[in-house]
């Protein structure tokens, strides 16, 4: 069952085509990775899905309902919540209050909102920072805050934009565990990632963008040996060397 369906989404900025007829689906309960080299159009696609930008053409469906062109707050209310690549803490509010804003989206009252906020803060290991102003924190904590806040909004689909960037490998491991736990709690995930070690281990499916076009879609191990993908990341020359190496039986 597809929770999110992207159909032929194209986004142009003047002459520049950032997304070119991208189509894929995200099934309920899945973790889908969205990868691609810099400038491939990943964040633009996110912005189109979440309503921050209007598509030039194409349609987007969430939970069976068309969300193309809806304002971002409506899409968030329907259950598709995103985080930002460049984190956006609500600077003059405390960590707790930040998460509380997320919680108020679906909570029926102050008490329930506060409970949700506390749960999410606990899940993301932010309890010791709860009373601190969000603007003053180190970047790693801010990223966790971004995640906790989005979680508090009780998403059906959680869209993470480069949540791992700038994290140490230990932090990446912790983040991966957290993401698995989130999925186990019934949340579907669409994750934009740049770091292969971060996304390949946990994704059920990977979608690859390059220059605005979707060049591959499939399970992680299939993607990692896909010629076009390797070529996009490493260049055609290295890809050929890799292929030659494989034929001779040596590992790349």
């Amino acid at each position: 069952m597809a929770l999110l369906e992207i159909r032929d989404v194209t986004k142009k900025f003047g002459e520049l085509v950032a997304n070119d007829r991208v189509s894929f689906t995200v099934d309920t309960g899945a973790i889908v990775g969205l990868i691609g080299p810099n400038g491939a159009g990943k964040t633009t696609l996110f912005n189109c899905i979440s309503g921050l930008l209007k598509t030039s053409s194409g349609r987007i469906f969430f939970d069976g309902i068309e969300i193309t062109g809806l304002p971002s707050y409506r899409i968030a209310r329907m259950g598709a919540v995103r985080t930002f690549q460049v984190v956006r803490p609500l600077k003059d509010m405390t960590v707790f209050d930040n998460v509380l804003v997320g919680a108020f989206l679906h909570a029926t009252g102050g008490t329930q909102a506060r409970e949700t906020a506390e749960t999410c803060i606990g899940m993301c290991n932010l309890t010791e920072y709860a009373d601190k102003p969000a603007g003053d924190l180190p970047i790693g904590i801010k990223k966790r805050l971004e995640l906790a806040r989005a979680l508090a909004a009780r998403p059906k689909l959680l869209m993470l934009d480069e949540v791992m960037a700038g994290l140490t490998s230990t932090e990446v491991k912790t983040a991966l565990e957290l993401i698995r736990r989130i999925r186990d709690n019934g949340v579907t995930l669409l994750i934009v990632e740049h770091i292969m070690e971060a996304i390949m281990p946990i994704a059920d499916k990977v979608v690859v963008l390059d220059g605005g076009i979707m060049i591959a879609e499939g399970p992680p191990d299939q993607i990692s040996s896909d010629e076009r993908v390797i070529s996009a990341y490493l260049g055609a020359k290295f890809s050929r060397r890799l292929q030659a190496g494989r034929k001779e039986g040596t590992h790349a």
Binding site: A76, R77, R82, F84, L90, T94, L100, A107, D131
Partner: protein, 338 residues
Amino acid sequence: MNALKRKDLFWLALVALAALLPAVSAVSANSFSMHVLILILLYASMSQAWNIIGGYGGQVSFGHSVFFGIGAYGAGMAVVTYGLSPWPGILIGMLAAAVVAVLISYPCFKLSGHYFAIATFAIVEIFNRVFLVWYWVGGALGLDYPIVEEGLKNLMWYDTKTGYFYCALALFVLVFGIVRFLEGHRFGYQLRAVREGQETAESLGVNSTAIKLAAMALSAALAALCGAFFVQYNLRVDPPMVMSLDMSMKFVLVTILGGAGTLAGPLLGAAVLIPLQEYTRALWGGLGGGVDLIIFGLLIIIIVVKQPAGISGIVRDIAKRIGRRPTAAKGGTSYGAA
């Protein structure tokens, strides 16, 4: 959450103390000090009304004197033009102010930063001129109150200022109470989120336009209520008195001085400015040689440059230094995200 309850008890104690003040004969006998107290309560309420959209909402509007004026004229016309008690006029004034606020803000919110500020000046000036020539509201002559029966029905007292004092106190409790309530509930959090980052707030499901308009409407209605009290106290109103840039700036500056986006800010600002204003006028007569405003101007410069969080920021810093458990302030340290 216990810290919150402590804060609330403090406020209740303050109000109770204030309610007992007129019983102290030294205070109530001195008409001037009663006047100062009443003005403090009034300006604190006015600024708190502005604080809703300007401090918590981050939309620095210089147009609030329009709403203040609508409220004043609403009450004034009920009494002077139609010979009624002011109450129907007050209600209509509050409603009218809210409607005007929404109509004006909707296009204005699309403007950014400086353009928005200037647009609000422009609107005040337009209203000012229109009221000056509008026959129905009394034009340039304004409205002068006739002598009517004393009491709550007509919201007027002649012998002592005690009645006005309790009215002002009630106004204060109402406005501050509303803001305190909103601060802790969904509306307050969503409003502040919009201030801190409109796109971010929307990504969390907040309809920023609706929230801003609602905050504006509430702010305007409460400003109008303050205007109504003003005219009942002053017994006279004309356009330059209420619908002027100077009056608009008072809304803004008292809050900024005290600390925008905080509950106590408007009271702190009023408690500093009003005695300054009234006592310099008493000492030097007339406009007081503008001394109060010279000092106020200096204070504003210093506050904005050194401590944008205002007096409440200064108080907070001192409290931190004394070593009490530092709790992050509820509300904002910045009073405007462009």
